[in-house]
Amino acid sequence: MTPSTETPGAAPVPEADEPAIGLYGVVKLYGSHRALDGVDLEVRRGEKVVICGPSGSGKSTLIRTINGLERHDGGRIRVNGIELTAEEGTVQDIRQEVGMVFQHFNLFPHLTALENCMLAPRLNRGLGKEQAARLAMRHLERVHLADHAGKYPARLSGGQQQRVAIARALCMEPRILLFDEPTSALDPEMVNEVLGVIEELAATGVTMVCVTHEMGFARRVADRCVFMDRGMIVEQGPAYDFFAQPRSERLRGFLAQILR
């Protein structure tokens, strides 16, 4: 599959030097708890960023503010040149550009794999049934599930379900893909099939932000790794340095823990 099947048009094309994602001093509060405490992060177009950190560090919250699933309480967020504001319209615009894959797949249980992939293109872009089905098939092939297109999620393995979820996100032909711990809910033997698909996607030049603890994957794929703790970015750098020479005490402790 060629990388640039992205649809031209609808949304404003960002300036060449405009980052794909820009977070500036982003704050998210849960009551008095600061889930995000002034996060600054720019993701270049085409860049692959891996975010890691202990649970409760705010990494999931961070990725969920990018497409407005969590509303930020302070700071600014720009995605593909669109400023994310309280207006419903800006959120919808951004979501057309941003695909997301969840830890628990969240497939529509009442629809087949193919129908899962067809729903958003049909509703959002008004594609006809034929057109949407062709698009969906193309992306199911991309995740190697064309044979399972007619099956309902309950009949698919966890790994297969997650790949359908990836295909579903791809069907909106997003410029940015967000992954929120895509392999943490999987049985160990299924992790690699999902990571393999994500790696193949990474090679296509799409912008990616992935929350994961799969360090091997991070080394192979990430242009940059980000370590978060207590709602802040503690350390970031190229994948190799990040693992080989962690600078902060907290990252060293964290790596020691997950690598045991």
């Binding site: 979501r95 009442h110 509703l123 309902y152 996100a169």
Partner: protein, 258 residues
């Protein structure tokens, strides 16, 4: 119960009359089921609203029309509404002036109140993650409701709906008190003419039983069709709200009937 004196000759002779009564019962079931369901949606949205001025009246509606005995609701509408001059003079009198209209109104409100709760429970049972995934795909709220929430809610709430419909049909037996000649009224009338205490009532009971089990079979088939995507039967609602639907669900637990 060896020798219940059922007079088969009488049963045969009164069959046309009983079937006519059954027709009325079906009519007085189907109309409120449709109107009540239609009414339940806006009331349910109001009930689930974060705005108190919307949710409070909806809640009061549910508490009253679900908590009051159906017979009293019927009396309120039939005897009570006639007192309200505004109603008596207005065009609504076409509705409230006839026993049939009153029965439809009382049954509709009662069913709407129950269905509001069924609907609410079913919508709350839709997993948040699935709704979130739809949002992340950029699907609009209206489309999420139509294409994701409702299809799932129907699956989760089907049993509760079935049980409400079944108990609703049984509830309609009271409309005879406002002179509507439904199945119960016909049976009563035959009793009063013949003083046979068994034949007419048992025949009517058999017809109710057949009607109700026909509905059950219909729901069963509908549920099977909807559940074709599931490997095993699992409704989040069973865990969610046993209190709300417990009794009504029982009758379906006892699928014994069939």
């Amino acid at each position: 119960m060896s020798g219940l004196p059922i007079d088969f000759d009488l049963a045969w002779r009164s069959l046309p009359e009983l079937l006519a009564g059954l027709q009325v019962t079906v009519l007085i079931t189907v109309l409120p089921l449709l109107f009540g369901l239609a009414l339940a949606f806006p009331i349910c949205f109001a009930r689930m609203s974060a705005r108190r001025w919307l949710s409070l009246p909806a809640e009061l509606f549910v508490v009253f029309f679900r908590g009051a005995p159906l017979l009293i609701l019927l009396y309120v509408v039939y005897y009570g509404f006639g007192q309200i001059a505004l109603l008596r003079e207005g065009p609504l009198w076409l509705l409230f002036g006839s026993p049939f209209g009153c029965a439809i109104v009382a049954l509709t409100f009662n069913h709407a109140a129950y269905m509001t709760e069924v609907l609410r429970g079913s919508l709350l049972a839709v997993p948040g993650g699935i709704v979130e995934a739809s949002e992340a795909l950029g699907i609009s709220r209206r489309h999420i409701f139509i294409w994701v929430k409702m299809p799932l809610a129907i699956r989760y709430g089907l049993k509760a709906y079935q049980n409400e419909v079944v108990s609703f049909v049984k509830g309609t037996a009271i409309v005879s008190v406002v002179t509507i000649t439904d199945l119960t009224a016909v049976a009563n009338g035959i009793f009063e003419q013949t003083y046979d205490p068994f034949t007419p009532i048992l025949c009517a009971a058999a017809l109710y039983w057949a009607f109700i089990n026909l509905l059950r079979i219909g729901f069963e088939l509908w549920g099977r069709w909807l559940g074709r995507h599931q490997r095993e039967e699992a409704s989040p609602l069973t865990a969610e709200a046993p209190r709300r639907f417990g009794l009504r669900r029982l009758s379906s637990l006892a699928k014994a009937m069939l």
